[in-house]
């Protein structure tokens, strides 16, 4: 299996940036869209939580994931704890697999990220099925595929502020 060509040396992440990115993702999730885009819309909060669990496991972990799950539950009107349960499980999987995933090249990360998000969605669907006896249909899972496709772009974007500025005194 191919691994990332070379490890970059990055600046430390500012905690404010992590919080800002998570709240922007929450805002994106609240954005009302048409019914078509609604089906393929990735769960941005889950993506961001996954990213930070993999790259900053000391700052973002199961507790943060759980708290954002509660926020999503209230905003979406789902059962209290439904997304919280799914997100905390997702964060745990990310913490276990994080060394493996961060070593992979971006196109191999696609499969891992998509699978982890699918497991997260499966937990949500299963909770809904057990508690309310409703199955939503398979199209619900399309969001995870979109999330996987967007993952390289997200990684590039979130690493931008950590790239060291080129030294002007260098020859």
């Amino acid at each position: 299996m191919e691994i990332a060509p070379k490890e970059e040396i990055l600046l430390p992440v500012r905690p404010g940036f992590i919080a800002l990115s998570l709240f922007s993702a929450f805002l994106l999730d609240l954005l009302p869209l048409g019914s078509f885009i609604e089906w393929i819309r990735p769960d941005f909060v889950a993506m961001l939580l996954l990213y930070w669990c993999i790259h900053q496991p000391l700052r973002v972990g199961i507790g943060t994931a759980w708290a954002f799950g509660i926020l999503v539950d209230v905003a979406d009107g789902t059962l209290f704890g439904e997304h919280a349960l799914a997100y905390s499980l997702m964060a745990f999987i990310a913490l276990v697999l994080r060394r493996r995933v961060s070593m992979l090249s971006l196109d191999h990360q696609f499969t891992h990220v998509t699978l982890i998000l699918l497991i997260m969605q499966a937990v949500v669907v299963l909770t809904g099925f057990v508690a309310k006896d409703i199955f939503v249909g398979w199209a619900y899972f399309l969001g995870s595929l979109t999330a996987g496709l967007l993952w390289p772009g997200l990684t590039y974007l979130l690493k931008l502020p950590q790239r060291p500025k080129p030294d002007p005194d260098r020859i």
Binding site: P32, L58, F80, F92, G137
Partner: protein, 293 residues
Amino acid sequence: MEHELFSRGPSPAVRLTFFILLSLLLLVSDVHYSYLKTLRAGIATAIYPLQRIAMLPVELLGAIGDYTRTQSSLIKENAFLQKQNLEDRAALLRYRAIQQENDHLRQLFGARARVNTPSVMAEILYDERDPFSRKIIVDKGLQAHVAEGSAVIDNAGVIGQVLQAYPFSSEISLITDKDHPTPVQVLRNGLRAIVFGFGSSNLLDLKYMSLNTDIRPGDLLVTSGLDGTFPAGLPVATVLAVDRNPVYAFSRITCKPVAGVNRYRQVLILAPGSPPPPIPVANPEPPPARGKK
């Protein structure tokens, strides 16, 4: 491996177990009890500004659309509205005459006059992203005296009822929500029944009607007002198909709601009327099936 210097608290597995247990606790209490309503309302109020911010692009698009309307479309719309206005005015006159006559008759019968229920106009903020439940959020809440259980209608008929009122917004469950019961009456012959939401599709299910029941496709169902939530006489649905298959104990009747949640942004929230007198104890009847929430 674990060293005191690098201690990071409990291991991920322990944390996961703790948070899973906490989630399950919340889930169970949400499904069966309503202890956490205030907590939920608090969080909802805290994220309300974020929801408004998320609405801004849509409102901006609407404003741009309004600004760039052509004159011809405005003239056409104006003509249509004037025609509609005339027709409505005629209907309103007839309605007033009938209402006066009705009031008079009621006084004669010594019945109490039907209270004109106050109402609040609200705007749909957004459909909920959750595909499990068919709910919408509107921009009026406790601050505008919206009470839980109030009926919500649009210009065509019943949409649903207020499930939970937050300070600045409220959550509305639709009549098409799974197992949401609405007591109705067939307008043509006064037959009483209960329609339930299907959940997955935008259709309703008229349950527990015997095979020889007198219902035809095209019949209009209106609220019967028996539950004390919906005022009587509001249009709910039209019957789409009646399937009288003798294999089943009841006929399978599918109905289509007349109100369109997807079409308009404004809804009317009716204040709940006075609750009906309690069911007599001598004839104990189970309360109408609420179903699982």
